[in-house]
């Protein structure tokens, strides 16, 4: 009989579920987003210890592998859990990093998800916009396709290490809190009050970006390639007057 497992949606939870399902050839893991009751899935309890063991196991195949898998996890695509399970089975069987074998469809899906997250995380280093929310507190909103907050925390913490930051992911209702010198962390955010709108520099920046473009070389299509319309609502230079 094949078993269906589910987990609490966290990274450690995922690893615990993989740990549990690994030796059952037909087992599948479902993301809590899928509406698990449909599958009558067994919830796997999150075990930091098992997560740690699996992480070590992956590191033995390739030191960069846990991070690689984590980024793929952040892409939040449907079916990821099962693809990962397959890939890891292959890897441990061959005792080699499985993610080089992109000709296999399940490996390719994981690898492509990793690339997608990595690319989006890098891109958002530039696309994030903050407003001053009083004192040295700066706040911003993003709505990325992948769950990237935890991947960009280091960058913003290091770069702005004399200002406090609340960066909200409005899609997932989570926030990156950066509080130098105490560190940064991710928190849930049930409520999303609007950001302050009285930051004088927002207008100045808008005026500047308009002044800067060469009318003779205007190329809106090209501009759109770089800043997709869906991300613009959180960027002052693209908001109406």
């Amino acid at each position: 009989m094949s078993s269906n497992y589910t987990y609490d949606g966290s990274w450690e939870g995922l690893l615990s579920a993989v740990f549990r399902a690994y030796r059952e050839p037909d087992a599948a893991i479902h993301n809590p987003r899928d509406g698990v009751t449909m599958f009558a899935a067994v919830p796997v309890e999150t075990s930091p210890e098992q997560a740690e063991r699996l992480t070590r196991g992956m590191e033995r195949l390739s030191p960069a592998m846990p991070m690689f898998v984590y980024r793929a996890f952040c892409a939040e695509y449907d079916g990821f859990e099962t693809d990962l399970l397959e890939s890891l089975r292959l890897g441990f069987r061959q005792n080699a990093d499985p993610f080089w074998q992109r000709q296999l469809p399940y490996v390719r899906r994981v690898a492509e998800a990793e690339t997608k997250t990595g690319r989006e995380a890098h891109r958002f280093l530039g696309l994030v916009r903050f407003v001053n929310a009083g004192g040295n507190l700066y706040a911003g909103d993003i709505a990325p396709d992948c769950n990237i907050l935890s991947l960009i925390g280091d960058h913003f913490y290091d770069r702005f290490n004399d200002q406090r930051i609340i960066l909200r992911d409005t899609k997932r209702r989570t926030a990156l809190i950066s509080e130098p010198p105490n560190g940064w962390w991710i928190t849930d955010l049930p409520d999303l009050p609007p950001l302050p709108e009285n930051d004088a520099f927002t207008e100045m920046w808008k005026g500047y970006t308009v002044a800067l473009a060469n009318p003779e070389r205007k190329n809106l299509k090209l501009q759109q390639n770089f800043v997709p319309l869906k991300h613009r609502k959180n960027m002052p230079e693209f908001r109406g007057p």
Binding site: H122, L125, G126, L127, V128, R129, F130, V131, N132, Y138, G140, H155, F156, D158, R159, F160, N161, D162, Q163, D199, F201, T202, E203, M204, W205, G207, Y208, T209, V210, A211, L212, A213, N214, P215, E216, R217, K218, N219, L220, K221, L222, Q223, N225, F226, V227, M235, E237
Partner: protein, 466 residues
Amino acid sequence: MDLSHKLEILGAAARYDVSCSSSGTERANAGGGLGSAVACGICHSWAADGRCISLLKVLMSNACVYDCAYCANRASLDKERATFTPRELADLTIDFYRRNYIEGLFLSSGVVKSPDYTSERMMQALEILRNEYKFGGYIHIKIIPGTDGRLVDKLSLLADRVSCNIELPSSGSLNRFAPQKLPEHIFAPMRHIKHGHQQFLEDGRKTRGAAGLTKIQAPPKFAPAGQTTQMIIGASPDTDMTILTLAKNLYKRFSLKRVYYSAYIPLGTHAELPPPETPVPLTREHRIYQADWLMRFYYFDPDELLDELNPSLQLDVDPKCDWALRHPEQFPIEVNTAPLERLLRIPGVGLISAKRIIEARRMGGLRLEDLRKLGVVMKRAQFFLTANGKFGGILEPGHEMLRGHLVDGTGMAQLSLFSQASALSGNAGALPPYPQESLPMSAAGGDGGALLALSGGAPALALAGR
């Protein structure tokens, strides 16, 4: 005048500059300070013309006492003038930086009173940023021609990248259109920067060598991201031959990281310059970038691409294809035996695909059908190569109809789109043209990559990575 109006004037005045690459340097946050520069460029926004805005690009002042014919800020034009105080500029940079609008500052200026007077004000702004705010973000500063060597030194110690723009590619044109600037006003700072930068690299090596033994302070950073320059294309009657030969000499003599080319946008400011309705020579600019790329990474010499009889690059095909069309006797090239430099001559074979060919053929002979998987653009390459003696093109290299197959349709409108797409996808076959990002150069770190690339041998390829 309020600050936002000043910013609009001085932002608009700075828009005719091309460089927007902010990569090439790593500056760790000193701790407790603000900002860092990361080695791979982060783009923050894109203006309506599709160029990336990653730096606050402004002039310190557009009140210029010089009268260069091609310039929108020349003294004899009647227009609104504005000047930042060093404090205003530093504060503005910080406030934008804190909101994550920018990676740093790209500062230039018209000549207020004199080059030295202006440079001192620029220096004050940089000192506030670096010393008072402990700003660790990226700073690119333009050196005003004629600036005193000591000031050039000081600016180079504060900035990450410095550039002194040639603008006009010959002394004749310089004399005619920018009579207040002498060639020596430009070359003296360039030499200065080169020496300072080399000294810095040398000290760095020594320090690293001694690191295990004693604690030695790292040498002060002197323009750690190197120097660049820019030339205007199409304002003066200078030919592509002149431009590329000058570029080659500049790379060699001053170890420049990059030469940027900017298609002249006719402003109607001078009777001897192209009138305002003249189209902006974007395709020509694009071809020159491609030729520049061929010189730096493909072992081409300007003399091979152009000569006295043909001093201009063809607009309908890229310069490498054009060279191949004119040299049918060099083709076809056998991919299983040709050395790297020969592989790189094949249209449709890029740095990465050439490297892959060399790797892959060790494992056994390559067939025509393998090449596409290695990133070779067979649409162009098929006419110029053989694999195990097999030729797959429908036309032989010397055939008169061949040219028609190689026209790349780089029209005005498609130009930037095309070039962006290939730059982004890292398309191995196409020549990356318009410089959003100076990838291979920045990968070189502080090692004078430009020189390496020109001197032949393997290093240029190693820089390109995989």
